[in-house]
């Protein structure tokens, strides 16, 4: 599809620039939260055996905080590469769900834009955009809004990470920056528990990760997560025999900044 073909939405071109600002403004409270998260990630990179520059590059090319922290943690523990990669991709499997939720809006965007745009599909940008898409149908407005939200949120993450890596070693031990990693997972995990199935998934994932702590090749988290998802799914199947009414569900409640 050509750019001109994607436009065709009346006057004003195919890309409403004002949408960029609107998207960035809507996501701002969450971007403010991403900054200290990025800062703490940067500091943990410096403190781990992960290469500092590589940890910084990961913020740009992976752009997924939970997976990045897990990669740093597993590298630090000396896990084999396939366990590190496997764990990170299991953590990021939720993006398939986001991708499905955003697919209807992406079908209105030029084809060559779709993959670069998908890179900015964070938890926060996805939910912000889905809310906007409910009231705005024109692709020429949806696209810049998504881009504005995704790009500005990523920028907050990049700035935080960069500062964290740069000042990492100068931060005194009393500040307990290492505690920021579990703290951020708590701040993300708790709001993700919205129903009984999610509670079961979380409780099982938590317990089995602890039980499987001596599993070979640091696969404890993988085993815990897989078991948690399985038990949560079983609970959902038992409580909701008809699944059709679940279809319109919004993914992931976003913590307020």
């Amino acid at each position: 599809m050509s750019v001109a073909g994607a436009a065709g939405q009346g006057s004003g071109g195919w890309f409403a620039t004002s949408g960029l600002v609107a998207g960035a403004r809507a996501i701002l409270p969450l971007s403010i939260g991403a900054f200290p998260f990025g800062l703490a990630y940067g500091v943990t990179v410096v403190e781990s055996s992960m290469n500092d520059l590589l940890g910084l590059v990961a913020s740009f090319i992976v752009l997924a905080g939970a997976a990045q922290l897990a990669v740093g943690d597993l590298i630090d523990q000396g896990a084999p590469w396939f366990v590190v990669v496997g764990t990170a991709l299991v953590i990021n499997a939720r993006f398939i769900m986001y991708s499905g939720a955003l697919a209807p809006s992406f079908s209105g965007y030029p084809k060559r834009w779709r993959i670069p745009l998908a890179h900015f599909m964070t938890d926060q940008a996805t939910v912000t955009s889905l809310l906007y898409n409910e009231r705005e149908r024109a692709p020429r407005k949806r696209l810049p809004y998504y881009l504005g939200a995704g790009l500005s949120f990523a920028a907050a993450w990049w700035i935080g990470t960069t500062i964290g890596v740069v000042i990492g070693t100068t931060i005194p031990a009393e500040l307990q920056v290492g505690f920021a990693a579990p703290l951020m997972f708590i701040a993300l995990a708790v709001p993700s528990i919205r129903d009984r199935a999610a509670l079961i998934a979380a409780a099982v994932g938590f317990s089995v990760t602890l039980i499987a702590r001596d599993a070979p090749m640091n696969t404890g988290l993988l085993i815990g997560a897989a078991t948690g998802i399985a038990f949560g799914t079983l609970a959902k199947i038992r409580t909701t025999p008809a699944v059709a009414d679940e279809r319109g569900e919004q993914p992931e409640e976003v913590p307020r900044g």
């Binding site: 992976v62 769900m97 505690f179 993700s192």
Partner: protein, 103 residues
């Protein structure tokens, strides 16, 4: 270093693949409801596992009971009450600093 570069590159490509999956290749199909249900449980299961791994374990061994456990519990309670990322971070870091100073 070479292995770390490989890991980050692999995770980056794989993550982009996951993000682009439905908006490109599968644009005209929908995710089967059962699969969607399982995917919606990835976040709570994985994140709770990550809490277990980073808060309770230290290089595969149980972390000795201390300020981190208490501050973690306080942060979880604040997260449950407020559902706010900012308040949870503040409460968690605030209590770990306070406990470290007091104990």
């Amino acid at each position: 270093m070479a292995e770390q570069m490989f890991i980050v590159a692999f995770v980056a490509v794989g993550t982009l693949g996951l993000r682009a999956s439905m908006v490109t290749l599968l644009a005209d199909r929908t995710i089967p409801p059962r699969v969607e249900q399982a995917l919606s449980l990835v976040a709570p299961a994985v994140l709770a596992g990550l809490v277990a791994q980073t808060l309770f374990l230290d290089h595969g061994e149980f972390r000795p009971f201390g300020t981190w456990y208490v501050a973690g519990a306080i942060a979880a309670a604040v997260a449950w009450r407020t559902r706010s990322f900012g308040w949870t971070l503040l409460a968690g870091m605030g209590s770990v600093w306070l406990l470290e100073a007091l104990l």
